[in-house]
Amino acid sequence: MTHENLLLEIAIRNGLLLDAAGFVGLGLAGLAAVRLSTRHGSWGGTMIALGVIGLLAARMQVFLTPHVLTRELVQVIGPAGLALSFGTTQILLCFGLTLVVWGIWGHHRWMNGETKAFGGAIRIPRRRASGR
């Protein structure tokens, strides 16, 4: 089976364009989360930002592992390090998604005045923005 379609080669087999789209989207989500948390003082925004950081770290690990984890390094770190490497990616993916979803929920609740920051344990100073 020959692939002569350039778009197929670039977009799907190498995955460059779509992976870049995913990175850009996660970066936008992180930017929005930081802005939400600083503007409204919402803890949901902070959780979204943490989740986005986790997802980005997992993506970076997935993309960098083929270049970093060579055969020699595998012999050095052994099976435990290998399992740890797989496990770190999985933990980052799962927890990142959880934090993003939980943060969206928390931000909505925060904007409706249904929660306080960390159960009211801390008080985030309000930052007054000029206009809406």
């Binding site: 089976m1 197929l8 977009a11 799907i12 087999r13 995955g15 779509l18 789209a21 995913g22 850009v24 989207g25 996660l26 936008l28 989500a29 992180g30 930017l31 929005a32 989360a33 802005r35 939400l36 503007r39 409204h40 003082g41 925004g45 979204i48 690990q61 997935v62 592992t65 083929p66 984890l69 060579t70 055969r71 595998v74 012999q75 052994g78 099976p79 435990a80 399992a83 740890l84 490497s85 797989f86 496990g87 990616t89 999985q90 933990i91 993916l93 799962c94 998604l97 959880t98 993003v100 979803v101 969206i104 929920w105 931000h107 909505h108 005045g113 306080k116 008080r123 309000r126 809406r132």
Partner: protein, 197 residues
Amino acid sequence: MQKFLDGWVGWGRGARDGQKMMCKGSDTLHKSSLTEVGAEGGAGHYANPYHFPVAGRGVRGFGKTVHAMMIPPVIGMVSVRPVFWILMAICLVLFAWRLCRSSGPWTARLLMAGAVLLGLGYGVLLPLAEAGVIRPSSAPGATDSQLAWQAVRTLVMNVGWLLLGAGLACHARCFSAVCQSTPNALPPRHDPREPAA
């Protein structure tokens, strides 16, 4: 990817092979050499769920048996993870729907498009790939079906994150300096910690 597969079989895009190696409670993982992978037609790491990225049999000093104790306990719950993804997908769509009610029309469209795409990806495609119903692969020997599923999965996940991120950025008004939308009809901002005036 091919260079990678040469010495390191079994780490797929999205890292779902790492969990394949831990399923079915097998203590002794599959000991396969690279020739067996080639015999499976290039996509052997999807066909063989126990494929563990151990280099050939001649590698000295690297045990081919990975004991279950070495795997972190949270990762061991392999059968729980698709359920978890499905729950997260449903929650994501619901919470994005709630968030849309306090945002403008195009922001709501971006958010919902991203959330629905991500919900499809996390709620349908990833569990199906986990169950082995679909086998997305972009390995050099992949069939048309595998390639198409790979295209669908990559497209859905990445474009979903792009749209959701753009929607969140519009919701947070990150682009308000560039494109100021029409004066919106939203109520003024209200700090829940202060009593209503």
